[in-house]
């Protein structure tokens, strides 16, 4: 950065080479977000609900937003989203860290364990949702199938439950199971790379100083992993907010047990209620923005300083 600003003739061609992408991202990301925000303040709702006498594209301010936030269904879907996100994030962090800890010192057949733990990441979320629909079958009686039948078979019958139909509020937590299954391997890979990136001398030094294994992890290794833990948190956070495929595959749309904003947005689009669909999407964008923007700015700053 301190180098003298070189002439336009030097950097100009570079800017030119990137300009198609700048224009595409400028329009398809920022332009269309603006367009969405604009639609969300109009009256482009389905014919049945449009206020009598107003044109379809009349601007009605934030009415769509107040309408959503005063709808018990939408509030319920936000609650679902919160519960789902917490179970999703905590679950994937827990198993990811556990597997990384089990593997990090090197074990026999490490490659095999890693490959299997990570393989769900290569599978389409929708395709895995199809099999989780079977696994999370809610029947607990004599005709139980899926995981409930497996529990019965291995003598863990007390674990049988109704999964996502067990409670209209908390049942959604069951949907976190397939998500955790899918993402934990990824988090393991991140932490494992983190552990392996810590210089071996650091461990040696701590051991020579008489640190127990527990102290070694607690005071030497874990602090080194905090940037990775932050990345993992951001990745899991924004993915959990966007959950759509798995829910559509497991319980389908218009399901009161598993309603989340992104599924609602799909339903509204199908009903040609474009204004409210856009409003839901913008609300979610704001959530994601709160999570991701500080992180991106932080990263950009840090890079500048190095």
């Amino acid at each position: 950065m301190k180098r003298k600003i070189r002439s336009v003739r030097t950097w100009g061609p570079g800017l030119l080479l990137v300009s198609p992408s700048i224009l595409l991202i400028g329009f398809f990301v920022y332009g269309l977000i603006g367009w969405s925000a604009n639609i969300s303040t109009t009256n482009q709702n389905s014919r049945f609900e449009r206020t009598a006498g107003t044109a379809a594209d009349a601007h009605i301010g934030l009415a769509n937003y107040t309408n959503l936030f005063s709808s018990p269904d939408f509030i319920q879907s936000l609650k679902h989203l919160g519960i789902l996100a917490v179970f999703y994030i905590v679950g994937a962090l827990f198993f990811g860290m556990l597997w990384a800890l089990l593997l990090e010192k090197g074990v026999r057949a490490e490659g095999l364990f890693r490959a299997v733990y990570l393989f769900p990441m290569a599978v389409s979320m929708f395709a895995s949702g199809v099999v989780w629909n079977w696994l999370l079958n809610s029947d607990t009686g004599a005709g139980a199938s899926g995981l409930n039948q497996l529990f019965e078979m291995v003598g863990l019958g007390f674990l049988k439950n109704h999964w996502w139909v067990s409670s209209p509020t908390w049942g959604i937590a069951a949907i976190a199971i397939p998500a955790v299954w899918q993402l934990s391997g990824y988090i393991m890979a991140l932490f494992l790379a983190g552990f392996r990136g810590i210089p071996a001398d650091l461990r040696e030094a701590a051991r020579i100083d008489g640190a127990s294994e527990f102290q070694l992890y607690r005071h030497v290794l874990f602090p080194q992993l905090s940037p990775i833990a932050l990345s993992a948190l951001i990745i899991l956070g924004h993915m959990s907010l966007k959950m759509f495929d798995i829910i559509m595959a497991i319980s389908g749309e218009k399901n009161v047990y598993t309603s989340v904003p992104m599924v609602t947005m799909w339903t509204l689009t199908g009903q040609q209620d474009f204004a409210r669909a856009a409003a839901v999407a913008i609300i979610l964008l704001v959530f994601v923005g709160f999570l991701v923007v500080p992180y991106l700015v932080h990263n950009a700053r840090q890079e500048k300083n190095t």
Binding site: V29, S36, V116, V131, A189, S231, I234, T269, I282, V288
Partner: protein
Amino acid sequence: MTTDVIPAAAPSELHRKVKKTPRSQVARTVKYLLLIFFLLVVLIPAYVLVVTSFKSFGEALGPNRWALPSGLSFEGWSAAWSELSPALFRTMLIAIPAAVISSMLGAMNGFVLSRWRFPGANVVFTLMLFGMFIPYQAVMVPLLEFLPMTGLGRGVPQLLAVHVVYGIPICTLIFRNYYQTTVPMELIEAGRVDGAGLLRTFRSLILPLSLPGFVVTMIWQFTSVWNDYLFAVFLSSRDNGPVILGLANLAGSQIVPYPEVFAGALIVTAPTLLVYIVLGRWFVGGLMAGAVKS
């Protein structure tokens, strides 16, 4: 970073002399038991898919759904294949060009943003990166209005276009990280002294070094386009869209014929799983780059 993926444990850790006390033996056994237990748990869905797909429709509804099939039945597979095969080709038509074009754009951007910077390059990069985190629903309603205006047909052409555009940020990120760690600034400077301009530097110095970067971005893009459900369901339908919608249709029927649906899920998953098995190392490279930090 993109290619070294996960390094092995340090030799000093692997061969560290730990006294073989009974306690450490127990700890070792518990560790392996846990590893094997989790291995089996992770494989449960795979077991269910494969086993059920070879059952007859009748047997799949039988009393013990976890049992191995009593005999191999291809009922499910042939039904799923005739339903999904036309869409497989369409999915290739979307995923392969999308992977190639996004990767090319990503390589150009990554090169300029790391090794041929212009004032404000970092701001442009950060603004681009944001594009990979947004929920695409936030652009979906206008896309539904805008794409038909471009003259692009519904289905393959529109999906190809959106996947190319929304693939740019991640490909740019991967290449930027890659060039930052593998191409020394001195190499560029030396080229400049010899009078090499931007395009010549890119073509004759950078591109020959870029193969590992391309493998990572192509795999990443191919996998995420192939597995995409969101754009597919909004912008296309079963008769003109990718194979995932065929699977959704199978799974959405009133009485779900599980052998057929599961055979279908395996057909849909096969290409990306094959890529993972054959090129896993580079797949992980893409995942790591997705974490932004290099």
